[in-house]
């Protein structure tokens, strides 16, 4: 018994040491990002976080430890930050969440003197609706929703528009988003409606469209879409362009995944921000600046397959060569991104509309 007690005491002491006696002269940076959203050294890739630690120590002659945590949705992240119980220095929310957090005073204005690499961000990604004054955010990635289909199943004559997802010929092979905003989005773009409308009649039209689609839908999915498309279990689904390439990487032999953009579709931007609970703002800005510099930015774009607004990356020869044909899909010629984005992107709906939308959505799934 004595031995057990001693052992327990030793364990507790060890715990205290592991958590408590971090050296005081080491700075700590808490980063909160989406899962699988940074090059992390796997399969021989660039280990962004460790390389930053090394680079910082070399440049500033001071040790820094990056605590890197991940979240699975904007709402998860928002709940953590707004609970006031945690302190992160850098977060990566999506556009509509940035607008909401800025409005609620949860973001700090950035000091761009510490982020000189901001100049590499293409002008068309500045002044977007969620941050019109460019105060709070530095864009990290952007993406466009498109339709993914299996060319071994789908006739070339049927592609090109949202109609493919409502095509009776492929009943039972269609995947639809399993979240209200994205699912209604597909129907509203198809019908030519404004996705941010506050006109309930428009939402009702989209609702009818989704109800009509329901018998043809194989499953309502989020990340399950990867396995279902890769294995050929389903043949048609809408998702983000970057994720399409992740699927192509893992597709089965008898599957030939292809991709196209319908005429109207959703565009999004994820950007790096500093929340008001940050404890080391300057260090956070240095980290954001580092993320924009060539080596880490190229590595992250290659790792995530998402398009980046950073001109250092999309003009990098190695990157262009590595991506090959993917460049055309990832960086479609939109004319002006800002123009398409401000017209089509999802914005925050007011609470009343959100409630209405969610009631309709529940009915779609129950019917």
């Amino acid at each position: 018994m004595k031995k057990i007690v001693t052992l327990l005491a030793a364990l507790v002491l060890l715990m205290l040491c592991l958590t408590g006696c971090g050296k005081k002269d080491t700075l700590t940076l808490n980063v909160y990002n989406w899962g699988e959203y940074i090059s992390d050294g796997s399969e021989g890739s660039f280990d962004t976080v460790r390389e930053f630690e090394k680079w910082y120590e070399k440049t500033y002659n001071q040790k820094v430890t990056v605590n890197y945590s991940t979240f699975a949705s904007n709402e998860d992240m928002y709940n953590k930050i707004s609970s006031g119980a945690v302190s992160y220095d850098v977060i990566v929310p999506s556009d509509y969440m940035i607008a909401r957090m800025a409005q609620e005073g949860l973001l700090l204005p950035l000091n761009f003197d510490n982020i000189p690499n901001y100049q590499y961000i293409d002008e068309t990604f500045k002044g977007l609706y969620y941050d019109p004054q460019n105060q709070y955010s530095v864009p990290y990635t952007y993406g466009i929703v498109g339709v993914i289909y299996d060319a071994n199943v789908v006739d070339a004559a049927d592609i090109g528009s949202w109609d493919l997802m409502w095509n009776q010929k492929y009943a039972g092979q269609i995947l639809q988003f399993n979240n209200s905003r994205d699912a209604f989005g597909t129907a509203m773009y198809k019908l030519g409606l404004d996705v941010n409308t506050s006109n309930k009649a428009d939402w009702d039209l989209a609702y009818e469209e989704l109800v009509a689609q329901r018998p043809m839908v194989y499953s309502y999915v989020m990340d399950e879409i990867y396995n279902m498309m890769e294995s050929g279990e389903a043949a048609i689904g809408a998702y983000y362009a970057g994720d399409y390439f992740t699927m192509v990487d893992a597709q089965a032999e008898n599957v030939d995944l292809q991709f196209y953009y319908p005429e109207r579709t959703n565009l999004y931007v994820d950007a790096m921000c500093i929340p008001s609970c940050a404890q080391n703002k300057e260090l956070a800005e240095i980290f954001i600046n580092y993320m924009l510099s060539e080596e880490p930015a190229v590595a992250n774009a290659l790792y995530t397959y998402y398009a980046t607004p950073n001109s250092v990356v999309y003009t990098n020869e190695g990157y262009i060569e590595e991506m090959g044909d993917a460049m055309e899909i990832l960086y479609p010629n939109l004319g002006s991104f800002a123009e398409a984005y401000n017209r089509e992107a999802y914005r925050n709906l007011d609470a009343d509309m959100l409630n209405y939308l969610n009631t309709l959505w529940e009915n779609v799934k129950i019917n």
Binding site: M1, L8, L11, V12, M15, L18, T19, T28, N30, Y32, W34, G35, E36, Y37, D40, G41, S42, E43, D47, V49, R50, N67, Y68, S69, T70, F71, A72, S73, S83, G84, A85, V86, S87, Y88, M222, D223, Y226, N227, E230, S231, E233, D243, T246, D249, A250, Q251, A252, E253, C277, Q279
Partner: protein, 276 residues
Amino acid sequence: MKLSAKIYSAIIFGFLFAPILVLIVFSFNEAKSLSVFSGVSLKWYQELFRDKNTLEAVKNTLVLAASATAISTVMGTMAAVGINKLRSKWYRAAMNTVTDIPMSNPDIITGISLMLMFVFVGRLFGASTSLNFFTMLIAHITFCTPYVILQVLPKLQQMDKSLHEAAMDLGCTPMRAFLKVEIPEIMPGIITGAIMAFTLSLDDFVISYFTSGNGFETLPIRIYGMTKKTVTPKMYALATIIFLVTLSLLLISNFVDNEDQARLRQARKEKKGKKD
């Protein structure tokens, strides 16, 4: 009848173990897919051991589970001893109910209420961040302790009460009688309680999620974070390793148990032989 019983257990075992089997098979897959098996390789095991963030999460999970188990086992055993000594039936029933609450309470309520309390207390003391390793530890101890009590209490009730008195009669101090006589008697209950506490702490997601602070990520939280894109096969490799370690621990403990019982039987036989 016999055949149908066999079929029944085959179905039950199938449902229990087929998913784990699939996971193990695909952890050796060469491709990054859960549906297409393109060749045997140890690639994902290599990747796993190169992924510092995941290994850190594993370490965090184990450190948390070990400390929560140690503390809740000691606390739970002490509580069980106390409850067992209560004379008033009413008081004992009340204590049992109170300790059952964290067990029967939905995780989500335990999680949110603990988080609110930590934030409230943290604000009271003017801390800018109130959630950290220790809040998570307290949360885990909270839901582990009742299970230890649940395992230890029946053992105490089964124990012959005169054992303690006999030990004192033979010159033990009350403390010594407790440590040398009672503890060995209830040891199986304590060990089962500790194993349950460890398992519960290891795979808890909901409560950990609400009480975790910045920079301290446990494995379930990390895997949840991956679901935006896709869970990489590295995680299959990790799950396979955890499964095999658990399996071998169980086999060893069963083996040791059997040995012990055999030795006990042998000793009894010899004793009998001497008497005759």
